[in-house]
Amino acid sequence: MADFLQLVISGTATGAIYALCALGFTLLWQASGTINFAQGEFVMLPAFMMLFFINSANLPLWLAFLLTCIVAMLLLGYAFKRAIVDPLIRHGVIPLVIATLGLSIGVKQLVKAGVTAQALPFNSPFPDGLIALGELKVSYADVGTLLVAGLIVIGLQLFLNRTVTGRAMQAVAQNTDAARILGINVQRMVLYTFLINAVLAVVAALLVAPIYLVKFDMGESIGLKAFYAAIIGGFNQTRGALLGGVLVGVMENLTGAYVSPSYKEGVALLLFLVVIIFRPEGLLGKSEERKV
């Protein structure tokens, strides 16, 4: 039983990272109808940036993190919106999906060719070691990951529900036209969403880099998991991304331990396929109407 609980806890910690990534994914979808297939690369780039600030500029981790947040907001938030999403969103979902696929390949290969093809180590922001709670042993890294991710999620929820800006952003997500009529600056709210997505990606990078190592293709896996998580939980629900992320993380751990390590991804993947086929709006989502 202790084993099982331990697996669930560490799975929840990994899942929390997926959830952060998936959260950004669903926010972008709700606010602007963007399906970002480069979401994984949005985690990979900040990981490299932080490493650059730490190793080359000898900055402490917290400063590197803050600087990376600023760069990411400019590059993955503002520039991404202005250069790719704004010109393409008028043409519908598909051209934008294709463009983000191109972005994903482009960024990945650019880092591979221009920076390094090797995996670089990244020191964990949390201390080594285990906390013993009776039979249960939990690592500081897992607890730290859960705490950081939890704080970010709670902070984000408070911002979205309790501030005027946050509520305006939700209004835009629910009904863009109505929001515009009510005098909300839609473009600005959408931009905020992109900035939030960038910051979520940086936090995910900080948490995942010590586990995955920093490599040009580290985003492939995390991007895919975030994608599963977003769909499983419900594409148009913020809570859905959280549930989906944790589910994927826990199932991965349990499958790896009890079924077969080589099918670690398998059960989450099956759930993903079952959800698509039988409950396309996701576990917590609401179905969307078809428009002519």
Binding site: I84, P87, L88, H91, V93, I94, P95, L96, V97, I98, A99, L101, G102, L103, S104, I105, G106, V107, K108, Q109, L110, K112, A113, G114, A117, E220, L224, F227, Y228, I231, S260, S262, Y263, E265, G266, L269, L270, F272, L273, I276, I277, F278, P280, E288, R290, V292
Partner: protein
């Protein structure tokens, strides 16, 4: 198609058929690979360009075809028995995957195919007894035609070239049939097409399954061309690249996949000095293309014509 276009096409085809006579084995291999890749890409164009569905799992069908062919050929089955089996297997799997995915919501086929591709990759990698796992399957025999061996690079090239032309002809005929014409209606406005009596689900599903079968045929040829297959050849990234190839060439244009396949198969070899930079440039070029020329490279011609008409 105008007469001038027909002649142009014929000349290009002749050039493509003659060129390998002057190439070494590796060059011939690449040109053969293009033919094989095209079979799958033509199928994908049917799904993406004509039925208006996103499929991010064409490599999974490519793989299913290749592994069926490899396993059966190693058992000594003749190629022309194996080929229809590979195609039918993909057709059936396509129906089984497409039916539930298309029934629910339109763009969910993209997600389902993505998940399916990862699943197929996992199975190919892990079921070692059947698929050889990461070691793959090697020494896959090449077919012979009327007693003539196709082991040589040149004979096999011509075999693949003729095969892909035949496949393209069948698809061309299919798209010109009343059945094919319903596609245009479907892609442009599915709800309107439905109101005029086109059964959306049935048409899209068949298009998806036929596209999958094309990939299965391509996979069978790939297995015999390379003589060796392993799961990495059929991963999700292969599907993504193939999708980009079809769109870059011009999805919904019959010869779009040809141009797109040249861009992803032949051009990287020719521009080898660029190494990893090639794909980096390709990725960003896709974004630029989507912004300025969403119809793909082949729509450039129309663009010029439209520009000339305005002046």
């Amino acid at each position: 198609m105008s007469n001038a276009q027909k002649i142009g096409l014929l000349v290009l085809l002749l050039l493509y058929a003659i060129l390998p006579l002057f190439l070494k084995n590796y060059g011939i291999y690449l040109m053969t690979l293009l033919c094989v890749y095209l079979m799958a890409a033509f199928g994908l164009n049917l799904i993406v360009g004509y039925a208006g569905q996103m499929s991010i799992g064409q490599a999974a069908f490519y793989g299913i075809g290749a592994y069926h062919a490899a396993i059966l050929l190693k058992l000594g089955w003749p190629f022309f028995v194996v080929l229809p089996i590979a195609a039918l297997a993909c057709f059936a799997v396509g129906l089984a995957l497409g039916f539930p995915a298309l029934r629910v919501q339109h763009h969910y086929l993209a997600f389902a195919t993505l998940g399916f591709n990862v699943l197929v990759y996992l199975v190919l990698r892990n079921e070692e007894q059947i698929t050889g796992g990461t070691f793959g399957i090697s020494d896959i025999p090449r077919p012979s035609l009327f007693g003539h061996s196709l082991d040589g690079a040149l004979p096999f090239f011509y075999f693949c070239l003729v095969s892909v032309i035949l496949l393209a002809a069948v698809l061309w005929w299919l798209l010109r049939s009343p059945w094919g014409r319903a596609f245009a209606a479907l892609r442009d406005n599915p709800i309107r097409a439905e109101s005029t009596g086109v059964n959306i689900t049935a048409y899209t599903l068949l298009a998806f399954a036929i596209g999958a079968a094309c990939a299965g045929i391509g996979g069978a040829y790939l297995a015999t061309l390379v003589n060796f297959i392993e799961p990495g050849q059929f991963s999700l990234s292969v599907s993504l690249l193939m999708l980009l190839a079809v769109i870059v060439g011009g999805s919904g244009r019959f010869f779009g996949p040809v141009l797109g396949s040249v861009v992803v198969i032949l051009l990287p070899e020719w521009l080898r000095f660029l190494q990893d930079w090639y794909l980096a440039i390709f990725g960003f070029a896709v974004i630029v293309l989507m912004v300025y020329l969403p119809g793909g490279l082949l729509s450039l011609g129309d663009r010029f014509k439209a520009g000339g008409g305005n002046r």
